[in-house]
């Protein structure tokens, strides 16, 4: 039996994502979610947090850092700009950060692929990890499962989401999605080159998130080994995203001259959300909160063991 106290968590950003995340974290119980903060006193999200028994404040990060007991981990569900401003403050206060915004202050993390690489805090500094994008969380595990078996010269992903699940932030800067996801297909997925495409579909009732992964593979690649590896990875992701599934078996194409002599494997995925606070069709949002919850729990457990003693006491922060 483990009698250590549960790590303390805070959610910054009380929007739909923040609320869904709160429900997931409460259900799991691995963390003690003590605070939800926003900046608008009239926010529905703050009210929802209070209804769920969590202390909620519109005083923002200033309020959070004034608390007698600071969190061990903070989940940032605001905007890239807000996280850029907040990240150094969390670090200085010894708080680990899980960033759900596109700010990417810290390394890209996909729980099924590379979370273990970032659990060890270096030099006693509070870690900061970034959750890439929804399309990245859905597809990069597959790219990694293929590149783990055979070299992938090029991987391309297409994420189709319902229009209603694309918020104003995504819409105002859709380039950020394609660029961030492309980079992570390479750095996390292990493809030499990466490309990402996002499509918004307004059909009613809303379509469930769909993702397609195309990977260029050598003419002699072991198709059986690739298929097995993909199935193993899907099972791994299902551990934290139950609605993650293959729509069909991986499809292999023979090498073609216009593919520079490469063959291709195509993987068709469907991501149904858990319907915690967000609707089931918004699998793209669900996979972000599920991945963040998974990563945040493990990160917080590791950080509470690794961090210098007493960093989460207020006095030390004030002394800086």
């Amino acid at each position: 039996m483990d009698f250590r106290p549960r790590p303390i968590a805070a959610i910054v950003g009380p929007g739909n994502i923040g609320t869904d995340l709160l429900i997931k974290l409460q259900r799991s119980g691995a963390l003690d979610v003590r605070y939800v903060v926003g900046v608008d006193p009239a926010s529905d999200g703050l009210r929802r947090a209070r209804d769920l028994g969590v202390e909620a404040s519109a005083g923002g990060v200033d309020w959070l850092l004034e608390q007698e007991v600071l969190p061990d981990v903070v989940f940032e569900a605001t905007s890239a700009r807000a996280h850029e401003a907040n990240a150094p403050r969390y670090r200085d206060a010894g708080i680990a950060a899980v960033d759900l915004t596109p700010a990417a202050v810290g390394p890209f993390v996909c729980p099924a692929v590379n979370l273990d690489d970032y659990l060890a805090a270096e030099g006693g500094t509070a870690p900061n990890i970034n959750m890439i994008t929804c399309g990245g969380q859905a597809t990069i595990p597959i790219v990694a499962s293929i590149s783990g078996v055979t070299p992938v010269a090029y991987a391309e992903i297409v994420a189709s989401i319902s229009s209603r699940s694309a918020g104003p932030g995504t819409r105002a800067n859709i380039d950020e999605f394609t660029e961030t996801t492309s980079h992570a297909i390479q750095s996390v997925g292990g493809a030499t080159r990466g490309k990402a495409i996002i499509i918004l579909n307004p059909v009613e009732p809303p379509m469930v998130m769909r993702d397609t992964v195309f990977a260029a593979i050598g003419p002699d690649a072991d198709r059986h080994a690739i298929t097995e590896s993909i199935h193993r990875m899907v099972a791994e992701v299902q551990q934290y995203v139950p609605g993650y599934r293959l729509k069909s078996e991986p499809q292999f194409e023979d090498p073609r001259p216009d593919w520079d002599g490469s063959g291709r494997v195509a993987v068709f995925l469907e991501v149904t959300g858990n319907g915690d606070y967000l609707p089931e069709w918004a699998g793209n949002l669900d996979i972000m909160t599920a991945a963040a919850a998974r990563a945040g729990e493990q990160l917080a457990l590791a950080w509470t063991l690794a961090k210098p003693a007493a960093t989460n006491q207020k006095e030390q922060v004030v002394a800086k």
Binding site: E156, I197, K247, W259
Partner: protein, 357 residues
């Protein structure tokens, strides 16, 4: 002066944009070469076509597994076209979610002077950053509301307003599936003209699936559209586009000034384009089904490839894709649908085999 010309006195002019080297790229599976682009853009420029669009069929960064790889990178083709012309302006297409501002900057550096930004007809707000970037680069701008047939005129006008406010100078009613009939074109164009007033022009981009390209373009002009797209010999996605050389001939017959020399346009179609293209698009079963069910025209050749790979008819794939309301860019869903249909077909055969003799 002929009677036609007399009748045309005072008729407002219309701007023709030729997109043989962009929409036509679909019909040749994105295989245009430097020489072809040079020859076609020079012929269009000689004919007085003011704007020539050159890009992968799916816009900048379209070269991909999902949409087909370009034989020659489109940015390099833009440079070739810009080099070949004297008067015409080179335009590029960009679909947000695929192409980025970075791609646009590169195209501008290669000589593109007009940016056409295309979104599904309900998603105009994803184009705002690209219009702003295009204007900052000093480019002329146009916006494409794709699959316009799926939006009612009033809704479409609201989306056009979002584009105009972002810096778009001409919003197009885009009949990406060739599904609109003249009434549908008129009500949509009128709605946009009323909404935009002097803030932006209205354009029309037609397709031939139901043989309406030129007729719809005329209807659009009558309703106030002043920028019309065409391609030489209708080379384009699906059943092909409004044929440029027919369009300018008809406008000429009506006495509507286009600034395009009809003889030279006919020569460009007959002598320059025809020898280059092996397989012209046509109104066949698959593309008529696309028009009837409102299926994005670029899906055609992808559906034909999937049909061959999975042994199910292309028109059935397209019909299913239309029923699911997939939008432009969702080419990957064609394979998914084909796998599903093939599975159903297989199960049906097995069922029959199990019937006792």
């Amino acid at each position: 002066m002929t009677s036609n010309e007399l009748a045309g006195i005072g008729k407002p002019p219309v701007r023709i944009i030729d997109t043989t080297l962009r929409d036509g790229s679909h019909a040749v599976s994105h295989s245009f070469t430097f020489q072809q682009v040079t020859d076609i853009s020079r012929a269009l420029d000689d004919a007085g076509v003011p704007i020539i669009e050159v890009t992968h069929g799916d816009g900048l960064a379209g070269s991909s597994f999902n949409y087909g790889f370009s034989t020659v990178r489109d940015i390099d083709l833009v440079a070739a076209a810009a080099e070949a012309v004297t008067d015409a302006k080179i335009a590029v297409l960009l679909l947000p979610g695929l192409g980025t501002v970075k791609d646009l900057r590169e195209a501008h550096a290669a000589g593109a002077r007009m940016a056409r930004v295309a979104t599904h007809s309900t998603e105009a707000d994803v184009s705002i950053q690209h219009f702003r970037a295009a204007r900052d680069l000093g480019m002329e701008t146009a916006g494409f509301l794709m699959l316009s047939h799926r939006s009612e005129p009033a809704q479409l006008a609201k989306q056009a307003r979002i584009m105009a406010d972002a810096g778009c100078e001409c919003v197009y009613v885009v009949d990406s599936a060739g599904a609109l009939l003249p009434d549908g074109v008129r009500t949509r164009v009128e709605s946009l003209v009323q909404e935009l007033g002097d803030d932006a022009m209205v354009g029309f981009h037609g397709h031939q699936n139901l043989s309406m390209g030129v007729a719809n373009s005329l209807e659009a002009y009558r309703a106030g559209a002043r920028s019309i797209d065409g391609t030489l010999r209708a080379l384009g996605a699906g059943a092909g586009n409004t044929p440029t050389e027919v369009l300018v001939t008809v406008f000429d017959a009506m006495g509507i000034p286009t600034g395009v020399n009809v003889e030279a346009a006919l020569a460009a179609a007959e002598e320059v384009l025809a020898p280059i293209v092996k397989r012209m698009p046509m109104m066949d079963r698959s593309s008529i089904v696309q028009g009837r069910y409102g299926v994005y025209n670029s899906f055609l050749l992808h559906a034909e490839r999937a049909a061959e790979r999975y042994g199910v008819p292309a028109y059935q794939i397209l019909r299913r894709v239309g029923e699911a309301d997939y939008v432009g860019g969702q080419e990957d869903m064609i394979i998914d649908v084909a796998i599903e249909l093939a599975g159903q077909q297989r199960r049906a055969v097995e069922q029959n085999e199990r019937v006792p003799a």
